[in-house]
Symmetry: C2
């Protein structure tokens, strides 16, 4: 495995990761978290992601009305908390089933 191959694998995997990330975020944000706490929660689960990846995604999902946010100012510093909206929750079950069904098909092909 040379470094050109490693870069190619990283590129191909990053496409795949991006596609699953919405599902992860909507799932984890059924409990309210601020951005950095969400990143920490993902890391505990095995997903290491940078703020540069997660923060734009949170803003995009909020624009799509899949997340809602609120500033909490009674802590040491103001923090924006995000939570899966009612629209987000309404599609989450379906998204999870489709994701599981699709990955089972791929697993069948590559195994």
């Amino acid at each position: 495995m040379n470094s050109k191959d490693s870069k190619l694998i990283e590129k191909l995997m990053s496409e795949h990761r991006r596609g699953s990330l919405t599902l992860v975020v909507l799932t984890l944000l059924t409990e309210s978290h601020y951005g950095y706490a969400l990143i920490h929660r993902m890391q505990e689960a095995g997903l290491t992601l940078s703020q540069d990846t997660v923060y734009p995604l949170l803003r995009r999902l909020e624009q799509q009305e899949l997340l809602e946010s609120e500033w909490i100012v009674d802590e040491s510093r103001p923090r924006k908390y995000y939570k899966t909206s009612s629209l987000g929750r309404s599609i989450l079950g379906q998204l999870q089933s489709e994701w599981l069904e699709y990955t089972d098909i791929i697993r069948g092909i590559i195994a």
Copy 2:
């Protein structure tokens, strides 16, 4: 589930599908196929994809030297056969392991 929700799910899932498709194509083309036969082979496995999705991907993967192609002209009509290149085969095992590892993490989060 209204039609706006369905469209949103379709959009989110299509991102996810796109990210896994390279892996599927490199795996299936370890045996040589022409484009339409590959689409048929995917359909048998449970993945319904249009020519508009698959043909540009085949061209892109060939440009990235992950596939190689050859015209076979001794059938009723000339057909371009694609096959995973030696570069493609060299990264395939690693790509499959990373895909499986990553989807296991997501499965752990959403289950």
